[in-house]
């Protein structure tokens, strides 16, 4: 089974985000970067399938130089090889443009299954997996919490309002992963040592048969006009006193001041 995982390096959710006035990208100074948490579910699932059925796992990321660290971490978890789309001409937050670069890369590879996260927690596009599936002409199942492989097909549990949809798809397909699917492992010391020797291939725009005008910022279908810090919520009232009295006061304030009841 040839499995490919699409993964992105993102700022850790706990890090402070800062945007300089007038800029449309965050300042990366002092920001800790990690593998997108939903992509860790994808890597873990790929490794479990490989362990159960044999095969190999290839990681792909599109990102700056530093993103190679995330690939090494994925290799240390147990993936076999990695591809790094590392060219300034690839860089953008636009979902179409990222998906196009990834799908051009995938067209030159063999795969039975592609796994990715439901969303990247930086720009929260929530689109890449679905778009890549369309560009490759294969089906997708999104926001999956359970995956069972059967002969030539997959059965996936997908979250919907008020329940779970059990969806069957032929393979190859793209599955976008949600929490619940598994518990991602940590890289072992041995894994970290081995990862240093595993193949990590860097690719430029020309290497994936893309033209510079169609990927990266040049190929973007959306334009980011502003990126700002949201206004702080106005300082709230902390109601003092005995818990019971405070409760009475807040109920009253909700009607008389906030007027929401």
């Amino acid at each position: 089974m040839k499995i490919i995982v699409l993964m992105k390096q993102v700022p850790d959710t706990e890090t402070k985000i800062q945007v300089k006035p007038g800029e449309t990208a965050i300042s990366t100074d002092g920001v800790t970067f990690v593998i997108n948490p939903y992509d860790e579910f994808a890597i873990e699932e790929a490794l479990r399938i490989k362990e159960a059925k044999g095969g190999d796992v290839t990681l792909i990321t599109l990102g700056w130089d530093k993103a190679a660290e995330a690939l090494r971490t994925g290799l240390a978890m147990g993936a076999d090889k990695a591809v790094h789309l590392n060219d300034p001409a690839f860089l953008t937050n636009d979902a179409h443009s990222i998906a196009l670069a990834l799908s051009k890369t995938l067209k030159k590879l063999q795969y039975d299954l592609i796994l990715c996260g439901k969303q990247a927690i930086d720009y929260d596009n929530h689109q890449i997996g679905v778009r890549v599936a369309e560009m490759l002409g294969i089906p997708h199942v999104a926001v999956v919490t359970k995956l069972v492989l059967e002969d030539g097909k997959a059965v996936a549990h997908r979250e919907i309002e008020g329940g779970t949809e059990v969806v069957e798809t032929p393979l190859p397909a793209i599955i976008t992963c949600q929490k619940g699917l598994n518990e991602p492992r940590y890289a072992s010391l041995k894994g970290i040592m081995q990862a240093k020797k595993k193949p990590l291939e860097a690719k430029k725009v020309a290497d994936v048969d893309a033209s510079p005008g169609e990927v990266g910022q040049a190929g973007a279908k959306t334009v980011v006009l502003t990126l700002t810090m949201p206004p702080d919520r106005a300082a709230g009232k902390v109601v003092e006193g005995e818990p019971e009295d405070a409760a009475r006061q807040v109920v009253k304030l909700l009607r008389e001041e906030a007027k929401v009841i």
Partner: protein, 328 residues
Amino acid sequence: MSGVWVFAETRDGKIIKVVNEMLNACKTIGATLVEDVAAVLIGSGVESLAKDLAAMGAKKVYLADDPKLEKYSPDAYAKVLVSLVKQHNPSVLLFGNSAVGKDLAPTVAAKLGVGMCSDCVAVQLNAEKQLLFTRPVYSAKAITTVVCKDKPQMATIRPNVLPPGDAKGAGAADIEKVSAAISDSDLRTKVREILKSAAGKIELTEADVIVAGGRGMKAPENFKLLEDLAAVLGAAVGASRAAVDAGWRDHHDQVGQTGKVVNPTLYIAAGISGSIQHLAGMKTSKVIVAVNKDPEAPIFKVANYGIVGDLFKVVPVMTEEFKKMLAQ
């Protein structure tokens, strides 16, 4: 040819709430662009819902009614939408940010080769008559405005953020039936079954009031306190991930980045610390009340009203007080 279009998602035989919110916003957008507001209604046996869409402000309803469209399928629904878009070239195409919307919108955008903005919390026309989409990013720690370069300008819209219309308009919409022309080979994925969850009945993303509990609730049976409060307020019950991971609540009740993004008028958080991932799902609520015994809990930074104290003492009193108030 033109149009300001809304995908009219249905659930349990009804048009979902966010559709009314989007159609209401589209009335102004349509008037400024001098283009008609239309809804695209897809399903099986849904024709009778067209009049509801007219009441919400749609001048035109494109109706694809076919037994093959009974259950959502990205292949089938996208096929219908893409063929309609290619025929009529609308300027705008909006979806609710629901499980279906989040899946269908990027599928359609990819087939059309256009841009799309997810989970928008505001939509405005700029001076060039382009739609300006506002969306939270980086777990709601930053906010961005984006425009789409091509038409249709596409987005999914967070439920409960745009003001709804009264949905009582008398206008009749012009219904255009479109044949779905779906063959079995079009449907690559198949829904085998739908497992209903044990979660609360009121859909969190549409709820006007939410009462949510976290690890501070200590045990699953204690959620009864929140259910009692919710019953008085007609609220939905939500939970933090800690409460869900502990197995106290169904995953469908989870609020936050991994769970539901909600936007109620009133959000009451009991025994929830207010982690970034939880805030990412509820920070835009209009009024937030926090009950937490730790005065340093980050939830107080976003709360309009905070009570530092034991929730087991506070919540029952709130329930009684609301009951009295609402009985008057």
